[in-house]
């Protein structure tokens, strides 16, 4: 009868903590609607991989030898060996994005670049706190505000904190509507937030829309070759969308592919949430550093817009800079909402969407540039 108690008695306190973490993630997904497609599978996976002698992980059994666990296999095949899951998800994301608002107002590109500042400042802070430089770089990438990029970079750099990094990246993406207004108000005045911006979009030809993903891939590939898998897959998805002859594939990439990969990615990443690796002080530090990255991304974007205003005749609402982070479309919505709160006729949405989709490209480029330093 001993086998009935064996499992129960071998539960460690760290595993109990992970059950609570899993429950919190599931609660955030269901009750608060925070990135449910990722946080729910991750929460459930956190419980699954932390059951004693869990069958979803490889185990050694007496008289049988090693047995294969499905989550470990998914992790080793889909993430560790090829980074296939995050990259395939990028095809779906690329197919979902309409770069029109950005192409009609190319000035918005710059905000995508400026809002990556938090990534690099966090790398420095993590290094100061004593993290190894590869771990520091992986932690900084939480500031890309882009889950697949964070997972890919931390995996390629063989960071031991991939689980904590993924949880931080997705949690803070969901918390953008809370984090960004606080950070924006910290560095702007009421008068600045009320600056109106006229929206006069230039027409975007079909040729420009088709050439755009090819040009982006080419430029990113030549200047930052390590970014080419991320940017290339993102742009491949976008080319499928814009070419006009692959509507069925575009639909599949946007819906079936993205949903299927998301489903597997969430539960697969839970492999890195095993108690002995996750329940550490470093995890708490990573959560703090992730928040720092998001705040300084926002501040970097806003301050850059203010800098441009010193030289520009037509003033830019500095909040547009904050929309340069990759969290799409939450960040653009936050800026629109804050603009209306200051002046109910102040519609900034289309400008903010332009900056926001620029952030999608810039974050992938940032991931590639960071990887490039270790190649």
């Amino acid at each position: 009868m001993e086998f009935l108690w064996e499992g129960l008695l071998s539960i460690t306190w760290q595993q109990v903590v992970m059950y609570l973490v899993g429950a919190v993630l599931i609660w955030l997904a269901i009750k608060k609607d925070y990135e449910p497609a990722l946080l729910l599978p991750m929460g459930f996976g956190a419980i699954l991989v932390n059951l004693p002698l869990s069958g979803v992980l490889n185990q050694t059994m007496q008289g049988v030898g090693e047995t294969q666990g499905i989550i470990q296999w998914l992790f080793e095949t889909g993430i560790e060996a090829s980074e296939a899951f995050p990259l395939l998800l990028f095809i779906g994301i690329g197919a979902m994005i309409d770069f029109g608002p950005l192409l009609s107002n190319p000035k918005m590109f710059l905000f995508g670049a400026a809002a990556q500042f938090g990534i690099f400042l966090t790398i420095v802070l993590a290094a100061v706190l004593g993290f190894d430089i590869k771990d520091a770089a992986s932690i900084g990438i939480i500031g890309a505000a882009d889950g697949p990029t964070s997972i890919l970079v931390s995996q390629v750099l063989k960071s031991s904190y991939i689980g904590a990094i993924a949880v931080a990246a997705y949690s803070y993406m969901a918390l953008v509507p809370i984090i960004q207004p606080m950070a924006i108000k910290l560095v702007t005045t009421k008068k600045e937030r009320a600056i109106r911006m006229e929206y006069r979009p230039a027409g975007v030809s079909k040729t420009t829309r088709i050439l755009f993903p090819i040009i982006v891939t080419f430029v990113a590939g030549l200047v930052a070759p390590a970014s080419v898998s991320l940017v290339g897959f993102l742009m491949f998805g976008n080319l499928i969308r814009e070419c006009g002859v692959l509507n069925r594939l575009s639909e599949t990439a946007q819906n079936d592919l993205a949903n299927l990969v998301t489903l597997l990615l969430g539960i697969t990443i839970s492999f890195s949430m095993q108690a002995e690796r996750f329940v550490t002080v470093e995890t708490l530090m990573i959560m703090g550093l992730g928040l720092f990255a998001f705040i300084f991304d926002t501040i970097g974007g806003v301050l850059f817009a203010k800098l441009l205003n010193l030289f520009s005749k037509s003033k830019i609402n500095p909040m547009i800079g904050a929309a340069g982070i990759s969290a799409f479309p939450m960040s653009a919505r936050v800026v629109e909402k804050m603009g209306i709160a200051e002046d109910n006729q102040n519609h900034l949405l289309m400008h903010a969407v332009g900056a926001n989709v620029s952030g999608q490209i810039a974050s992938a480029v940032a991931g590639g540039i960071v990887l490039g330093f270790f190649m």
Binding site: L103, A136, G203, F212, I215, V219, A220, M285, I361, F373
Partner: protein, 67 residues
């Protein structure tokens, strides 16, 4: 890592002596210097890539509008 942090040489700042602090914090300073290098070159790299793309898109749009 935390152990390393707690045992690190933050206290040596109290020595109010730059060279001593740099000497004592040597290994960690290598990491920090590398991180600062990544920050400088990384931000420059992003602006170069994104700036180039923005210029090409602007030119493409103008050419398209002139037709």
């Amino acid at each position: 890592m935390l152990h390393q942090l707690l045992n690190s040489s933050i206290g040596v700042i109290g020595g109010a002596d730059g060279p001593t602090a740099v000497f004592v914090t040597g290994p960690n300073m290598d990491n920090v210097n590398q991180a600062l290098d990544i920050m400088g070159k990384g931000m420059l790299g992003i602006f170069v890539v994104i700036g180039l793309i923005a210029i090409i898109v602007t030119v493409l749009s103008r050419l398209g509008n002139n037709r």
